[in-house]
Amino acid sequence: MKKKCKIKSYIQAVATDLLFWIYLFSCIYYLFHNWTGFTASFLFIGLATVLVTALFLILHLSIGRKIFLSTRKKKRWYKTSWTYILIIGLVITFIVGINIVEVDFYKFFTKFQNAGGITSGIFDPSIIGYELSPESIQNLSDGDIPPDVLETLKGIQNRKYSTKKVFLSDIEKRLGTSTFNTCKSTILKAAVKNTDLLNTALTALAETIFLALLATVFAIPFAFILSFFAARNLMPKTWLGNIVYVVIRTVATIFRSIEAIVWAIIFSVWVGIGPFAGMLALMIHSIAALTKLYSEQIENIDSGPVEAIKATGASTLQTWIYAVIPQIISPFLAFTIYRWDINVRMATIVGFVGGGGIGLLLLQQQQLLRWHNVGLLIWLIAFVVWVMDMVSARVREKLIGM
């Protein structure tokens, strides 16, 4: 028995060391390859790894030996230097990480002006839209603005939007910010105000909130029923009970590890781009997540009442209804509201890949480079998320404290 243990831990030690050195050598090779173009065959690396592992194991420098074959004997200094090797490993990991992620702080500090459009959009969101119709440009006289600007304006109108409206942000882009600012007041005078964008944005926002709400509501019954079968303490300890438990838990975990955005891509192909696809994506993800949260809550209940109700001669279903549900109802509600809160946030992202709602609108405006409109949408999203977050926190506090 003892000898078997020793062999087992020896194998574990060697395996750990082997993995560690393979990793370290791969990292070093990656760096050398990137910097000098040096190439070597994998056989060579493998051989080097095995040799180094063996050498270090014999020299008692190995990490695996430390973890699995630790002895209490006092060691000489060179036999405890596994810590240095570990530190070297961590440093190399960090360097490789910086290389892979292409960290470039120079860009971060010097290329800020690239984000000028969106930043100015955020600070000056277009709550009220301005547009120039072809007629209003015709009405602008030469005296009001420099002739070249007028020409440019007419050019825009003719080239791109012969019959449609011209947005202020398009004009700003075309003229350049400084020229635009000098004759802004004149252009504004001629422009027609409207709140089209605000209306559209609010509609899309409502769409987002409602699709998140529906996704949550539709997920509740599924998750509620599944969670009972995914709770260890409720499932009988027979093979059937175990299979049901393991299958539900595994499927829930897999579905949860696939991000809602991936589900949205699938469903936007399946049912077409729009809020319904977004709702389905969030629903699937919510079912999986809520099943896990719910069943963990069930596993946490006080088993006393369950025992007591069982002892009265109640059936299994009656026991669940009377001893389990009263204990879990308020944490369930709290989790559900939290989930709605999460879903509203995710609905924005899901919209980007065809899930409808304000995310889709944001994507469109961003692609048209209408930064002031993007600014408005960002503010609206931030506001809604903030409100949801606050409300759900309050409600959860009340429910848990009940």
Binding site: A308, A311, T312, G313, A323, P326
Partner: protein
């Protein structure tokens, strides 16, 4: 006198390997107030829970009111259980429900699922529940949530719940262990009253010898899963008490 409980060579070995009951033979007559004594871990709780199959016994026979408990399954097990009231140390009420609703759950063994979901519409059941609450002196607390009641009140609600089952036997697993001495006595008084007036057989595990003397008609002591004493409360003298508790207690102190 009728033999209501009959245990023959009852064993329980837990999955962990603990041999909790080592061949219990016990016969209880109708109307007895039997006190179970013994250290924690001596098998009292296991014995009580085996008798209504909250824990599956490993081997042996259990007969309660001429029904074979060990082989019973499904509906028959439910029928056996509904005549056995059970009272717990931690009261085990459903804390979010009212006292009245908690008492009504005692009826679950008798009714269908649909009936159970619409309890408050069955005037008859509600009336009986209120009557039972009255018996334990809590009729004015019927609408209070269980979590807002004191420990003694909760245990009395639990007694009313057991009464709702219309039981022939009540098992009480250290019913007063988490109560103060005065409250403990009042809870035991209610149990004693049920025993005398309703002729309900009571099996009650306890730690206080004084309460055992006051209310018990018979004492059975367990030690390491075996019965080491069976007699009347008066028969327990200092030596017998030491047999049941003494040596082990000393051992514990050494550790």
């Amino acid at each position: 006198m009728k033999e209501i409980i009959k245990l023959t060579d009852l064993h329980k070995i837990y999955e962990s390997g603990t041999h909790a009951l080592k061949g219990i033979n016990l016969t209880v007559n109708e109307g007895e107030f039997l006190i179970l004594l013994g250290l924690s871990g001596s098998g009292k709780s296991t014995l009580l829970r085996c008798m209504n199959r909250l824990i599956e016994p490993t081997s042996g026979a259990i007969e309660i009111d001429d029904e074979n408990v060990v082989t019973a399954k499904g509906k028959r097990l439910r029928k056996i259980r509904r005549h056995i009231g059970m009272i717990f140390q931690q009261f085990n009420l459903i804390k979010n429900l009212s006292a009245r609703m908690n008492v009504l759950t005692g009826k679950l063994g008798y009714v269908s699922l649909w009936h159970a979901l619409t309890f408050s519409m069955h005037k008859n059941d509600v009336a009986i529940a209120l009557q039972n609450l009255q018996r334990v002196g809590l009729e004015s607390f019927a609408r209070n949530k269980a979590r807002n009641l004191s420990g003694g009140q909760q245990q009395r609600v639990a007694i009313a719940r057991a009464l709702m089952q219309n039981p022939k036997v009540i098992f009480a697993d250290e019913p007063v262990a988490s109560l103060d001495p005065a409250t403990a006595d009042s809870v035991m008084r209610y149990l004693g009253e049920l025993n005398k007036k309703d002729n309900i057989t009571i099996l009650c595990s306890l730690h206080f010898l004084s309460l055992a003397r006051k209310y018990g008609s018979r004492v059975v002591a367990l030690k390491d899963g075996k019965i080491v004493f069976d007699g009347t409360p008066k028969e327990i003298d200092k030596k017998k008490f030491k047999d049941i508790y003494g040596e082990d207690a000393e051992e514990v102190e050494i550790r």
